[in-house]
Amino acid sequence: MNRLARWLLRVSLVVLLMGTVLAQVLMPVFASEEGVIFPELTYLVVPYSVAYILAIACGQVALLVVWRLLSMVNCGVIFTRRALRWVDVITVCAAVGTVLSAGPMIHLLFFVGAGGPLFLCLAACLAGGLAFVLLMVVLRGLLESAIADRTELDEVI
């Protein structure tokens, strides 16, 4: 079951990665379409596209790190301090990705003066990003104590 789960997780990581690449390609297209609908905001097409492409890139890095951690699980070396560094990479990616996603929304809401459902999107983005980062911090603590336990147990003869 565990092996099947790991295999399926790898498959879904590949699908997700391809999906994010597609999203990165479509992002400028979508942004320029919006630019056509709102001609007065055309100057925002490029910076917003860049922000969201970078935000998605953060997600891609996190996906690759999950792949790396999965390899460590398969090799039985997940309970080593090296794993903590990779978990930190995911946490940083999540934080940077959240800021990059929220940035354009904050700009639209408070500097351009857009409104409506965008505020809910911003709230969801910030709450979701914060929750994910904090979850990673908690899980990192658990991994750290598991590493300490494993290291101590390895010394038992």
Partner: protein, 71 residues
Amino acid sequence: MALIVELDVMLARRKMSVGEFATAVGITPANVAVLKNGRARAIRFTTLESICRVLDCQPGDILRWTADPPA
């Protein structure tokens, strides 16, 4: 470490080599060396039990406590 594992004496008394002893107990020769050098920090009861069985002795015959010398 204030607890000393006196394997050398018992091994000599039983005329056993480290390799033989390790195989009989079911631990690696490296771990036997760790026990003998006093670098061991913990030992399983099952390991202690097989050591006693192989050497036909009591735990007290191989474990000795000494007070730590004042630093």
